[in-house]
Symmetry: C2
Subunit: 377 residues, 2 copies
């Protein structure tokens, strides 16, 4: 065995994430590693938390990045807030609602499913009905921006139903944070997790998360121990929580990955959150125009579309894998495949964070043009 | 709020980890992000796995880095291999054996504790006795290199006792991997986890792990579901396992962090594993000589000392926090504090990976000299 250093090619990442990472963020990750208990790092952490509160639009005290990808952020919300035997209403309209179900089952709690077709937004009426039929439910979980389909659900309306029923909400904002309107406090969301590699355009591996006071109260009132040691917020917050101005060792924080996330949040702050939302929206409209002109149809109805994740149906006869390989081989351009029932039927075109720019749209439309010119339909 | 980019100072990291990261590894992390399902990344992953097999001295098929820090690697081994109600013998001679106990309790399994004093190696005779007294035990867990004390236990002898009793072994090699002799296959270890930020000198955030065939068989024969979705190897291995030559999406791999880990493993391969062990040993002897000359006493008996983690008693009257602040403020030098019963009583001086060099020893000895010259004893 004699393995050489890896030199990745420069790609254009327009799939469902990771999205293109700017050289500024990449260079931040290459800064010298310092200790995770270094006084300089304590100040650094406070700033990461402030920047995340800005991005989430929250004043929540509990707001920090989990040292693992978005999937671990999802698991963290459930294992901290759900106790065995509790009923949890889960909205399923894509891959990530299914994952929520699996996590709830592993906890020994009872998932109650509210199903909508893949590509549709969650129907608030069905959520109301679920509460009527399950008055003992303790939590409601749903995905704000379904990465597997590109559908955006009305998080404000759905969370309000949870609150009316005296329930907490767990909300997946992996693909929405930074890319489209999201207001944790304004909408009254309780436990919210995201990912670093979507509209923040930091490398994958970290999961920003925030808990409302109501969520913290449920955590503190648990009768059973949190089943995961690594994700137990009672322990993790001794490290991240600033009240005592000390940092107790829990696990070694991923220092350089946090450098990258922090720089991506500084960039978001410089642009302004609302300006970032607007840019995603504007680029989406430009992309849409180009795709529709080429004959593509969107999977999701216009009002429910995420600007940052554009799911379009493959034209009849087009070979999904061949198309994606062509784009990757000839244009170093990544777009995403469909998942589950949508496998082979859609392309998922991301316009996330740093990647939501006019140049990328030109590359994508040019590459698709080229493919269809080269390939028999 | 207006947060500027973070510019960390260049430090010398001689604590219990993270250790100094070379500029080669830092620059690898700044390479362009590619997709986690990109065909180029599939080849990359195979090479990471080969390099890890080399470092662990194993032919195990299951050998990959978990997308989270070493603590998650520990939890992964337990949640995959331990079922509720099972008896697990846990050796405790420092912080990490205590963490194992907490994880086992959260699973609903029964920890059986084998205790040795902090700073001592695990006593194999006590392990034999524990098996005699608990014939139903299914697993034995212990720490090879106790990061909280600097004690090295005889992993070969202890794992052999487990095997004689038809039990699997779970072995913490967070601080040993790459820094002192470790032979996963030669010693018959079953489930072994480590961390990226110690003797591999990659940034913190990843946990290399390997499972023997016996461990995989226990996983496959489980009656209950693995309690963690994120750490369920039945799912994770659909992504990392190469048998089908396809990669099924589980979670988004931390691409750039893996670039860093891979480069650190390439560097280890270039130096040669045994040469790296020898270098750690030689630098340890040089450091020891200097520390003894200054009047320091080692916590751990000579035969059980880890070369890469040197725990020395603080001289009478020396103020732990003042000393460490002095080193950090005046020499940008980090050393570690004692934990638990050793808090305020010892310094933990790391000589790990890239940091195990003559220059660092000179800085450390010079800095300590300077402190004791400046400070009243």
């Amino acid at each position: 065995m004699n393995v050489a250093s890896f030199v990745p090619k420069q790609k254009t990442l327009m799939g469902p994430g990771p999205s293109d990472v700017s050289s500024r963020v990449l260079q931040a990750m290459a800064k010298p590693t310092i200790g995770h208990l270094d006084p300089d790092f304590v100040g650094f952490m406070n700033e990461v938390q402030s920047l995340l509160r800005y991005a989430f639009k929250t004043e929540n005290e509990v707001c920090f990045p989990i040292s693992a990808p978005g999937s671990a952020g999802m698991e963290a919300c459930f294992v901290n807030l759900v106790e065995p035997g509790e009923e949890v209403i889960i909205c399923q309209n894509g891959v990530f609602g299914m994952r929520m179900q699996s996590i709830v089952e592993r906890i020994g709690a009872k998932p109650i499913l509210v199903k909508d077709d893949w590509g549709k937004a969650v129907d608030p009426q069905k959520v109301e009905d679920a509460f009527k039929n399950n008055p003992n439910a303790k939590l409601l979980a749903f995905v704000h921006a379904e990465t597997s389909t590109g559908a955006c659900s009305d998080a404000k309306a759905i969370a309000a139903i949870a609150k009316q029923n005296d329930c907490l909400s767990i909300v997946d904002t992996v693909t929405s944070l930074g890319g489209c309107p999201l207001e944790v406090d304004g909408w009254g969301l309780d436990a919210v997790y995201s990912g670093s590699q979507k509209c923040l355009s930091a490398p994958p591996g970290l999961s920003p998360v925030t808990f409302s006071e109501r969520a913290v109260a449920k955590l503190k009132a648990r009768k059973s121990q949190v089943p995961s040691w690594f994700l137990d917020f009672n322990l993790v917050l001794n490290y991240w929580d600033d009240k005592e101005k000390t940092r107790s060792y829990h696990h070694t924080a991923p220092v350089n990955a946090l450098y990258g996330l922090r720089e991506s949040l500084v960039i978001l702050q410089e642009e302004g959150l609302e300006s970032s939302w607007k840019r995603h929206r504007e680029r989406h409209i430009e992309l849409r125009e180009g795709l529709v002109k080429m004959g593509f149809e969107f999977l999701v109805a216009e009002g429910d579309r995420l600007p940052q994740l554009n799911a379009v149906r493959l034209p009849a006869g087009a070979d999904d894998a061949a198309l994606r390989s062509y784009l990757l081989d000839n244009f170093q351009l990544e777009v995403g495949a469909g998942l589950g029932p949508l496998a082979g039927k859609i392309l998922r075109i991301g316009l996330m964070g740093y990647a939501a720019n006019k140049k990328n749209i030109a590359i994508l439309l040019g590459a698709l043009d080229s493919y269809f010119a080269d390939s028999p339909r």
